[in-house]
Symmetry: C2
Subunit: 491 residues, 2 copies
């Protein structure tokens, strides 16, 4: 073939001259070292930044052009804008006083894994499109399964988020409950139910909705005074629904609910679900990694009886976002729900190797196992256990401190590393207390000293302080408690 013939107008020299191709290697190297210096300085100094930025909606956008540049820019300029415009608008999840949502850490080993994954830029949708990425995902998830004490009947794969993992698990449950719907859809079928406690994560309801089951398919089961699903209430609900002709699709117990980290009694829930033939999906997105700690694992007794379990290393296993693991007792159930192999994705290894695209909707797959593998190697079982236990202990210390103050009320027990409480002086009625707690949260967050969040428990607005960052020390927790009390005093 001659490149001079036909329509050819490009020449190899255009790559050599840099008018085509990527950034020159020496420029990448120079900028990447600069970026690492910034990263190292940022991670070391994040404690001195305001946790929540002092910006209003639109403040960042208004500082940037509305159109892409017509011509190449020096990337140093973009890096400068990153530093001067973007970073001042970041909420610092790395800050040791970030206590909103679930506090997380993308640890140094995990960041190094992300750097290498970005350089390799592989897509292991099928085994042959990157054998090592597929097999390291198998290895890393076997390691994690061992760390949290699950039996090896559970087979895992990595998704972006727990909401996705849960939707996939519910899709497998739907496939089992309505085998004919695979071809014909849900149209001719009897309505069904997905059961979870009223404290379950919104992803269960969202998954139910996405799968075409409708919001009415979600039934919130009553909880006890520790906000845990009541197995007797579950049984009553399933009996009642069965009499009404509804199909029992799935039951979703949670190990560590978002509002209070309540731990549903999973063994009893599994027993009830089994009576009715429903799939059991355990939401351990937050709580799962803590099963590395023996005294926590006891609380999860019976979770090994589930059909599927979601655990998020990006929440409490020091792995950068995103990394959500879905373990499934019968991975073929996922394959039955999802597998479709077009001609351009047929491979000679079919049968001999696993093609991870078959386990869900997403076809493309980032090499997410690498960061998780680095984290497990760098910290080891003992290091992970010590770090998670330290978080548990700091949470209990804060709980004790709240309990010791007369004007404060703790709203839930603390089985994991989240403390929920409210300012509730005797003379304040509930409405006034709600307003006071909202104001306390806003004031603390406005100081930039800490970032905390609200939730509602038993109808009341309360303060959530989640502990999960590797940099957070007992003194930091003392400081956030001081900031909260200062805010209350200033009302």
């Amino acid at each position: 073939m001659s490149i001079d013939g036909g329509s050819a107008r490009v020449r190899d020299q255009e790559w050599d001259s840099g008018s085509l191709g990527d950034m020159p290697p020496e420029e990448f190297s120079r900028l990447a070292h600069d970026v690492v210096d910034w990263m190292a300085g940022y991670l070391d100094g994040v404690r001195d930044l305001p946790v929540f930025p002092n910006v209003a909606p639109g403040d960042i956008r208004s500082q940037l052009p509305t159109h892409a540049p017509d011509h190449p820019e020096d990337l140093s300029d973009a890096l400068r804008d990153f530093r001067d415009i973007i970073v001042p608008g970041i909420t610092h999840w790395n800050h040791p006083s970030f206590h909103a949502y679930f506090s997380i850490t993308g640890s140094a080993p995990g960041i190094l894994g992300e750097m290498l994954a970005a350089a390799l830029n592989v897509n292991h949708m099928v085994w042959r499109s990157s054998p090592a990425a597929t097999e390291l995902e198998e290895v890393a998830l076997a390691w994690l399964r061992g760390l949290v004490g699950l039996p090896d009947v559970f087979d895992g794969h990595i998704n972006d988020t727990a909401s996705t993992s849960t939707m996939y698990a519910l899709a497998a449950a739907r496939e089992r409950a309505y085998p004919e719907a695979h071809e014909a859809g849900l149209f001719g079928q009897r309505p069904g139910r997905v059961y979870a406690s009223g404290h379950t994560h919104s992803s269960v309801e969202k998954g139910t909705l996405a799968l075409g089951l409708g919001r009415q398919a979600f039934r919130a089961v009553d909880t006890d005074d520790e906000h845990r699903m009541r197995p007797d209430a579950l049984r009553s609900a399933m009996l009642e629904d069965g009499k009404a002709g509804l199909v029992p699709i799935a039951v979703v117990p949670t190990l560590g609910t978002t509002s209070t980290t309540a731990i549903d009694p999973v063994a009893e829930v599994v027993d009830v679900a089994r009576e009715f033939g429903a799939w059991v999906h355990v939401d351990a997105a937050y709580g799962g990694p803590a099963a590395i700690v023996p005294e926590v694992r006891e609380l999860y007794h019976g979770w090994e009886g589930a059909d599927s379990i979601v655990i998020n290393p990006h929440k409490w296993l020091f792995t950068p976002i995103d990394c959500s693991v879905l373990y499934c007792r019968d991975p073929d159930a996922l394959i039955r729900a999802f597998s479709l192999v077009p001609a351009y994705l047929e491979t000679p290894e079919s049968g001999a190797a696993r093609n991870l695209m078959d386990y869900g909707v997403a076809l493309g797959r980032r090499f997410r196992a690498l960061k998780l593998w680095f984290v497990m190697r760098a910290f080891g079982r003992s290091g992970l256990e010590a770090r998670i236990r330290a978080h548990l202990q700091m949470a209990r210390t804060l709980a004790d401190a709240v309990d010791a103050e007369p004007n404060w009320e703790r709203m839930a027990s603390v089985p994991l590393a989240l403390v929920v409480f409210r300012y509730a002086p005797r003379e304040m009625d509930d409405e006034a207390a709600d307003a006071a707690n909202r104001a306390i949260i806003d004031r603390v967050n406005e100081t930039g000293r800490a970032f905390i969040g609200p939730t509602r428990i038993d109808g009341r607005t309360v303060i959530r302080v989640a502990i999960g960052n590797l940099k957070t020390t007992p003194s930091d927790v003392e400081s956030v408690w001081d900031a909260i009390r200062d805010a209350a005093a200033s009302l």
Copy 2:
């Protein structure tokens, strides 16, 4: 609060001593600079590696321990294993002779963006959980919209993959077709249809399946001799289905199909879909970025009439995986399909700022806009146009070369940067030719000189050569063509 009270057993000193907390800053800095040196060397030298590794299923897994280490390991050991065990099992998507699937590049500017995103580790599910990440996503997607010439009625957000984007678009279509199903599910509804050509990506059928519509809801519309959806066949199919009482849910034209990069006549398809009130989702996951090139954009005339469009910067816009953009004319349609706001995610900015969690299933969100923004700044409109045009030209040159050889048959025209063809000497029957082409693909891939893929067109096994890597030069394309002809000669 005293940390000596109650259950406290951890002390600040344990962080200072490094027995808790993250890797020490100086160790991170040292390792990260080492990692950058490896990355730079890898990217510069990837041309000398075999594209497809010489490994069999299980080869990588068998070199690794079955359990996580009990105690911390030096991360240098993990980096050594990465280099010695993992990299030799990687299929190098960065290699200039990677031509399987759709050839992609995670360019240097994009990699720098991923490094910073990993360090920040923010999750912008709501505006306040990272204002700058939310607003940069808005800015970057407005830039991209301008580059590809879409009107600003289209509002975008980033998902992991096109399969996810397409499923979300089809969920919005389902919501519009079956408003009552939001509460009651699809159970009482009339079955419906999603239309696409038989050459559409598997994600359309998979999305249909995931949403509970059933495989029967997917109807493949006849194509013309260029593998493009026939608008008259679409109209006939929709009329026929309408008489049978089926609900017209969505029509999915593709701009650049996976097997041949056929470009469905989107303007006419939109017109037909409008007659029946169906949602139009355009799959431009691969082809979309090429709309930056004016002569390509002409081919997409009418795509601006769609309800939603998916464009993947991680395919042909030099952005590391994953980054799939879903543009939607009526983003509220996505919100109606998906939004659920639990108490722990209520924010004071609700109404004034966008909360990106409301547009799909996934709650957590990586800061993916940063890498895309860096790519657009580093290359600029002119640089992106020149690079994509170079790929188009190399593909046409290869097509001309195939056409000039007597024993070879080109199987489709080349509107974008994919050439599909087969070895078909006059004396070979079709079955023998299928076997020969499978053997040619395997032999080329075994050499490690190039990585190409198969597909089937009109029932025949053919060779796909996709061009999309920034390092690929005309000489490289000449080499892969030589390798293919060598393999044929060796049969």
